[in-house]
């Protein structure tokens, strides 16, 4: 067994029948790449699941985040729904973690920030060739886009940041191990990467 997982297990055994830590994850304006990287912890997922249970997450299909110890969010904030989800996470989660470039600095979606939103919508929905029914969508079901894409910390208080595009499975695993074992997650300068 991975030494960290062993560490986690022993930590768990010290306090038998400790309720599982609830974790929620979501992707706002992101690509789910960080979630994919998270899944790359592979068989350690099994060890992890002994300690945690998932609330809202692509793994559970729960739609609304309930009270959780940890919330992990990838992706920046690009529309009104993102703001709503982010605020709910902040309210429900004791510890909020921003994961990946987009959650931390807006990332690729934020590269639209130097263009006016109207120009952008115009370009995408009316002037591009091959649009069957051109026109900017205005279905009330669709969340309204924000003028700019913002990283999470510009909207709510964020407790931890895991940079990387995406951060590696190792980095994510080390971070979670630390957090679950009650240690302050240390950012090792050798593992911090922005790309």
């Amino acid at each position: 067994m991975n030494p960290i997982a062993a560490d986690l297990k022993s930590a768990d055994m010290d306090t038998p029948r400790k309720p599982k830590v609830r974790i929620a994850t979501t992707s706002l304006a992101g690509c789910f790449g960080c979630h994919m990287s998270f899944l790359d912890i592979d068989e350690r997922l099994v060890a992890l699941l002994e300690l945690v249970e998932f609330d809202r997450s692509p793994l559970t299909d729960i739609k609304v985040c309930g009270p959780c110890e940890i919330g992990i969010i990838e992706g920046g904030v690009c529309n009104a729904e993102n703001v709503h989800v982010l605020r709910t996470f902040r309210e429900q989660c004791t510890t909020l973690v921003a994961i990946g470039a987009c959650a931390i600095n807006g990332g690729l979606p934020a590269q639209r920030n130097h263009l006016p939103l109207a120009t952008l919508l115009q370009e995408v929905y009316t002037t591009r060739p091959g649009l069957a029914h051109g026109g900017i969508p205005n279905d009330p079901e669709l969340p309204l886009p924000l003028h700019k894409v913002h990283p999470l910390h510009e909207v709510v208080k964020v407790d931890y940041f895991i940079p990387g595009c995406p951060p590696s499975a190792e980095v994510i695993w080390t971070f979670l191990s630390d957090l679950l074992a009650g240690r302050a997650p240390a950012s090792d300068r050798r593992t911090i990467h922005f790309d």
Binding site: A98, A101, I104, N105, G106, G107, L108, A110, Q111, N113, H114, K148, H150, P151, H153, E154, V158, Y160, F161, I162, P163, C165, S187, D188, R189, R190, I192, H193, F194, D195
Partner: protein, 237 residues
């Protein structure tokens, strides 16, 4: 020749007359984070990342002359917090989206951020929109990434004797400008052999047609952290 010493985080550093704290530290193989300093150019003392506490006062180590017996603190939490704040402010002022930048892995701003264990930009982003200048056949200027360190200004003026670059404006409006009739790099006598073409610490002056010649993950600061590759001796690129 060096018979004088000062203390850097408790270590005794010998220095020659006229040397600054940073020069003496680097000669002795000690790393002090820095961005606007280049061993071959006159120090500018503007980025303030090399700030150290000298007998209680924060001073830029690149411009402060070494003095016999001075007590210099560099690797302290307090000093590193200051440095990180400066680096974070530089990140949010420009467009430093590393995954799309060709300089990633070779960028001193990025490597210094790693060194200072910066995990987030902390402040609100400015999201600037400055037109890039692709007019030069061999180089691209992306002003959105310029951190105003003035290394290219000094290299071009003092080494290349060309004065291709300058800093104009003031306050937060300070901008890198090109000294040509049109203001474009293509209309200046900037050349690939210029010292100014080699000193940009970030991805503001980028050589064209070199994209991904070294894969991400195998670049200078991917292989060794900046404290190991940048602590003195000839500059590595």
């Amino acid at each position: 020749m060096s018979d004088s010493c000062f203390s850097l985080d408790g270590a005794s550093i010998a220095f020659a007359a006229g040397q600054t704290i940073l020069q003496a530290a680097m000669d002795a193989g000690h790393y002090i984070p820095h961005l606007c300093f280049h061993p071959e150019l006159k120090p500018h003392g503007s980025c303030k990342v090399c700030s150290v506490r000298v007998d209680g006062n924060m001073m830029a180590s690149c411009t402060t002359p070494a003095r016999q017996g001075m007590k210099v603190e560099s690797a302290t939490t307090e000093v590193d917090d200051q440095r990180r704040a400066v680096v974070q402010m530089l990140f949010v002022e420009g467009n430093h989206f590393c995954p799309s930048c060709e300089q990633s892995g070779r960028c001193k701003l990025q490597a210094t951020a790693y060194e200072l264990q910066m995990t987030s930009p902390h402040f609100d982003h400015f999201f600037p929109d400055r037109a890039v200048d692709a007019s030069h056949p061999d180089f691209l200027l992306d002003f959105n990434r310029c951190i105003l360190c003035s290394l290219c200004v000094r290299a071009s003026r003092d080494v290349d004797q060309k004065a291709v670059f300058g800093l104009a404006g003031r306050g937060i409006g300070t901008r890198l400008i090109v000294n040509s009739e049109s203001g474009r790099l293509g209309d200046s006598d900037f050349a690939a052999t210029d010292k100014a073409a080699q000193v940009c610490p970030v991805g503001a002056i980028l050589r064209k047609r070199q994209g991904f010649n070294v894969p991400i993950g195998q670049r200078t600061y991917d292989v060794a952290p900046i404290r190991e590759s940048d602590r003195g001796g000839p500059e590595k690129r």
